[in-house]
Point group: C2
Chain length 216, copies 2
DNA sequence: TTGACAAAGTGAACGGCGTTTACTTTTTTG
DNA sequence: CAAAAAAGTAAACGCCGTTCACTTTGTCAA
């Protein structure tokens, strides 16, 4: 079962030290605060040593991001399993996604950063790549969830793929606004204060309502 | 009428040169590609000269962002004026927001960057600040639009502030996903290809449908 | 056990960055 | 025209990611 030699174990330990130090800094300060030199300092190695374990700073950050996304996915899966009734399950999964994303705002935003040019050409080779990517997994999971709703007639008039993308956008947008606007959604003096929990629940409601509605 | 002295005119010209060069680079490459030294090079001045016109790189970028957001707002306002029927107006404004944001992805994302800590304490002094900020203006405008719907009974059961924030999140999320995922929403082999125009229209539809629906 | 080879680790450097400081040149103005 | 103010600059500071030549340490077959 893949026994590790002492050398491999040692290597693994150092690698983990780097990752742990990086995770800590990144969670608190994001990519801005994370520098190879600072990391090296914290683990008492030279900066150059880190390059024996990671090809580049981006590679390192990539690993932080995908570890986070794996956790996000497994949390949503657990929520899925914990709810029987379909609409409950929907709302709960949406909320779990949002809450978990908010636990690590720097990770979540970093996972969706970097402007992509929109290749109109149907470059379908990228689909495989996407499915294995962090965001791809989120898409697949919610697509399956929503398609159940279509099959059961709860969402009578939707196209699964379109509805999934819309719903995802809606969740994603809420997370992003909450991360970037310090007073969202509460403490707007133009309305009664509303706390995050109730707002998230209401947002999930609105979303489900839109999916359930018949065309106008 | 605030006549400008020749000195002031000259100063203004140089300032604009800097801003134009910055705008060009930023539109194409975002904050990554924008450096003071490169800017100085392009306009044939020394790097230090730029600091006679802008306090910092962030100040400069701030000006690019708010100029963009002003354009975004005025486009949405024009769309507002161009549509009479209420639901048409709603859908059209949503779509204009999305399209204009997508014209300058680097500007739009930069305007929503930087993780904020969530001051639970009702720090209401920030409201004034928010109202004058770029994102604050977007909020106010859509809030007024949606409140019209409530008053007219088109959106019968909504709370204006909550609905506005949800709707905004929904638009914002779509823009962000389109910017960050190269194949969104089309060219997913799990469904028929769908182009951006139709998808945006459908997304706006779904949103309006949610707002119109009665509680379940 | 030893000698060769690989792996781990390092100090110093390269080229880039935002920004500041001390300085010179140009322009405005009393 | 002199003095004050503004515009512009070269050089440096302290960061950054990354690379390279080098030394140290560990592994393993003869």
């Amino acid at each position: 079962m893949a026994e590790l030699s002492p050398a491999e174990r040692r290597r693994q330990r150092v690698r983990d030290m780097i990752l742990n130090a990086a995770e800590k800094v990144f969670a608190e300060e994001g990519e801005t605060g994370l520098s190879i030199r600072r990391l090296a300092d914290e683990i008492d190695y030279s900066p150059a040593a880190i390059y024996k374990y990671f090809g580049s700073k981006d590679d390192l950050v990539e690993e932080l991001k995908s570890a986070f996304f794996a956790r996000l996915m497994s949390k949503v899966e657990a929520t899925y399993a914990a709810h029987e009734e379909y609409l409950d399950r929907c709302r709960a999964c949406i909320q779990t996604y949002i809450y978990t994303a908010l636990e690590r705002p720097h990770h979540y935003t970093a996972a969706f950063s970097g402007v992509q040019e929109h290749d109109a050409g149907g470059d379908e080779a990228r689909w495989d790549e996407f499915v294995e990517s962090t965001s791809g997994q989120a898409y697949i999971m919610f697509r399956d969830l929503i398609d159940q709703g279509r099959q059961q007639g709860v969402f009578p008039e939707i196209d699964t793929a379109v509805a999934t993308k819309s719903a995802w956008a809606s969740m994603h947008g809420l997370v992003m606004l909450m991360i970037h606007l310090p007073h969202f959604p509460g403490s707007f003096p133009d309305s009664e204060a509303i706390d995050r929990e109730t707002f998230i629940a209401r947002h999930a409601d609105l979303l489900v309502r839109g999916l359930s509605a018949k065309k106008m």
